[in-house]
């Protein structure tokens, strides 16, 4: 009976609506009752998380078809519907999203900010939009939600960021992404006019001429590459991260960066296989340049968040290398690295947030010898630094290793350059950790001595568990996505 109940009531529209309902309830509560607001926000997001776990349990990993499919009418004339579904690839992104948002709400728990209610509402709306992005199987609606995620993020960065530069950063963030996306909109319209539908499942079976494919691929690339971010258009990321509040950075690094690569995985590669083959060397070149360039740039940074932001860029470009290698290891590894990066980078941003909360500065030169006063923090920071460096035993290793295996089989030079990024990754991550934690305690600058409090340990614990679980026993994750990934590879090879 429980099974029946689950099947009747648990579906994707419910999942998307849950946070929205939470925010609607929050609208009616006066701003003064901050504790109630926080509690309701946390409950709504936790409920969504549990909901997504139910979806995971119910997920059938043996088929590559989309599951929990539903279709709601939107524009009947052009036959565009809210066509939602999950397969092995999107399942984990949905879970990642619902996992990260309660943490974000927990981060803002101490109520020291203004507009507390709006903060939580913004995060909840952002959550439902992000889940919608990962579920949508209709091209136009994917685009709508893809862009609409920018709105709450713009507000989060602009209102709750920490410095005056935040306005400029928010504008930069918004306009960069929007500019690329205009091309994607044109491409979608072209597809609509040519094939008469924007439904993904139908589009997967239509054949487009190679020239048309190339043109559409470039347009999609324009949009997704900004989000990934790939090298020429990555500048928005460090700015946005530095200016965003801690929870905003967590969402940005954890999920928004995945939107770009998810778009590649879901739309560019399956729909335009010949163009993908054509452009793979291009992507490889850009990604290899990006990994080495950003890793080297990280060594020169002085702002903690910028260092981690550039490291995010390096990891995401490793993901694109993996994604464009047409074998299971490459794509599976890239998905795993995406998930792991969502956990690890978010955890690192949380670490930086902990430091920022105490000392109100993010410049590395003011930190040193923190292990004397904050030993628990040092342990946690060390663990996530190791995860960032892809130490075996953490999830990043599995992802990175599989990507390198996959890439090596395609093009060994690229794999070599990507592995070079591994050394550089160790260099900057460890250097950062060393400067901040070891050495002499800089008593001139550091006046607060409190180690992590219970709430902060609670925040880090799920990340720790997630990284270790994925690192030591990734089979659970790999099995779930296996069928969908092999389907993708087959589809790509077929044409």
């Amino acid at each position: 009976m429980l099974q029946n109940f689950c099947e009747c009531y648990f579906d994707l529209s419910g999942l998307i609506l849950c946070p929205v309902l939470g925010s609607i309830i929050l609208l009616f509560i006066p701003n003064s009752r901050i504790r109630l607001i926080r509690l309701i926000g946390l409950c709504a997001s936790l409920l969504t998380f549990l909901y997504s776990l139910v979806l995971w349990i119910q997920f059938d990993p043996s088929t590559a078809k989309f599951q929990f499919v539903e279709s709601l009418r939107w524009l009947p004339y052009e036959n565009i519907n809210f066509y939602m579904g999950i397969d092995g690839i999107s399942l984990f992104f949905v879970i990642l999203t619902t996992f990260l948002v309660p943490i974000c709400i927990l981060v803002g728990w101490s109520g020291m900010r203004s507009y507390g209610k709006e903060y939580i509402i913004a995060f909840l709306i952002c959550e439902s939009l992000m889940i919608a992005v990962f579920c949508m199987l209709d091209l136009l609606l994917f685009y709508v939600f893809f862009e609409s995620v920018l709105i709450p993020m713009f507000i989060i960065i602009g209102v709750w960021g920490s410095r005056q530069r935040k306005i400029k950063a928010a504008y930069q963030f918004f306009l960069y992404t929007l500019l690329g996306s205009v091309f994607m909109l044109l491409a979608i319209l072209l597809i609509l006019l040519q094939t008469g539908t924007t439904d993904l499942q139908i589009l997967l079976t239509t054949e487009l001429s190679e020239r048309r494919q190339i043109f559409l691929w470039i347009a999609f690339f324009a949009s997704f590459s900004v989000k990934v971010p790939m090298v020429p258009v990555h500048i928005w990321l460090p700015e946005a991260h530095v200016e965003a509040p801690t929870a905003g950075s967590v969402i940005l690094a954890g999920i928004l960066l995945k939107l770009g690569t998810y778009g590649f995985l879901r739309f560019s590669i399956p729909m335009f296989p010949e163009a993908t083959l054509c452009f793979t060397p291009f992507i490889y070149t850009l990604s290899a340049i990006a990994i080495i360039y950003t890793s080297l740039t990280t060594l020169r940074q002085i702002d903690l968040k910028k260092i981690i932001a550039y490291s995010s860029v390096a990891h995401m470009n490793l993901v694109t290398i993996g994604m464009f290698s047409p074998n299971i290891q490459g794509i599976g590894g890239s998905i795993l690295l995406m998930l792991s990066h969502g956990l690890v980078s978010s955890a690192l941003f949380l670490c930086v947030g902990v430091l920022y909360d105490r000392h109100k500065t993010r410049l590395v030169r003011y930190y040193g010898g923190l292990v004397s006063t904050m030993p628990n923090f040092s342990i946690i920071f060390f663990f996530f630094t190791l995860a960032n460096m892809s130490l075996p035993g953490t999830s990043s290793f599995i992802g990175e290793f599989l990507i390198l295996v996959g890439a090596f089989q395609r093009n060994s030079l690229v794999a070599t350059l990507a592995a070079l990024g591994m050394i550089l990754g160790a260099a900057y991550s460890l250097w950062l950790y060393n400067r901040v934690v070891s050495g002499n305690f800089k008593a001139d600058f550091l006046h607060k001595f409190s180690d992590l409090n219970g709430r902060e340990v609670l925040i880090f614990l799920p990340f720790f568990v997630g990284v270790v679980w994925m690192g030591v026993y990734p089979k659970v994750f790999l099995d779930c996505m296996h069928t969908s990934v092999s389907n993708l590879v087959q589809h790509g090879k077929f044409h």
Binding site: G369, S372, F401, V405, Q409, A419, I423, A426, H482
Partner: protein, 434 residues
Amino acid sequence: WIIPFLTLAVPILIGLGLLLVPPATKSIRRIWAFPSVLLLSIVMVFSTNLSIQQINGNSIYQYLWSWTINSDSSLEFGYLIDSLTSIMSILIATVGMMVLIYSDNYMSHDKGYLRFFAYMSFFNTSMLGLVISPNLIQIYIFWELVGMCSYLSIGFWFTRPSAANACQKAFVTNRVGDFGLLLGILGLYWIAGSFEFRDLFDIFNDSIDNIDNNVLNSSFAILCASLLFLGAVAKSAQFPLHVWLPDAMEGPTPISALIHAATMVAAGIFLVARLLPLLTVIPYIMNLISLIGVITVLLGATLALAQKDIKRSLAYSTMSQLGYIMLASGIGSYRAALFHSITHAYSKALLFLGSGSIIHSMEPILGYSPDKSQNMVFMGGLSKYVPITKATFLLGTLSLCGIPPLACFWSKDEILNNSWLYSPIFAIIASSTT
């Protein structure tokens, strides 16, 4: 599988204890040495047992457990026990046990006592896991873990900036080697389609027979093998990547004894020894290995003469001896290389522990800064005061020099013999730096 994971229990327990009940855990700190030593001695008993079985029957156990399965490839986790493994595990277990017993007293006054034992036990775990690995992936995993342990251990006294710099230097240099190792692994996977040692050996043996057919194969194989060797170079402090070893003396002396005498530097040797059947078919690699070995020998010995710090001169001496071992592997005398690595491990551990005792005795006089207490210029004529240490230190030094009938004589002699057969130049260089 009991072998590595038994010692893992200790750091986990210590860690949990420190997290959950810090006052209680810290008050019984001296007692924590006991389970460490106990578990390690259990491991030693096991490994002795195994090696006796090996000597008698020469049976090879292998057990594999599937870790991840894709349709194309599956990574497996398990263990492989053969003669090489059992010897190495006895080595690690015994040296580790001695060092643990020593460090109980050495670190007794140190505030980070518990952390020290946690690191040591974790290090033992990783090292043991390394030697029982059945495939390259597992070696890589434990290789990196050993590197991480060395980072933690060298930077044990993290408030000293020089220690902080040193541990980072060690890890990053190690990472450069890991880059080579990983690429070598991937390359071998591409050629051979598998990570398992047995499969690799079979495929390589087969491909020797038709080596004339695929010339491309052989140059790529050379590249892969040299990349793998790069990993060993970094770990065993051979010539280009030896820079971390002298600075690694910032760690406490038992750590130096464990890491740099016995185990971690032996990890590189182990890798080369494990892959020797693979490498012997590629003459270029063997030349390369022996060349780098000889350079290291010369470099280490020369630099050791110019040192004032006890531990640093021992570090350079370690480097030189490792060069010997690499040289022996490079010329193909597998037995000599392993024999020398075992004898060297014991002798060097003895020397380090002896130097630790000297340092401790100098400290009340000269002060606690390592610049002073480790400085050999201030020492001299100590035999009146520390006769036991003097005797043991002398034994260790003589042994290392290769004076008969002490241990290293037999192994060094064999290396020198074999290197003469291989190339007289090498032998002249090698014997001149003894």
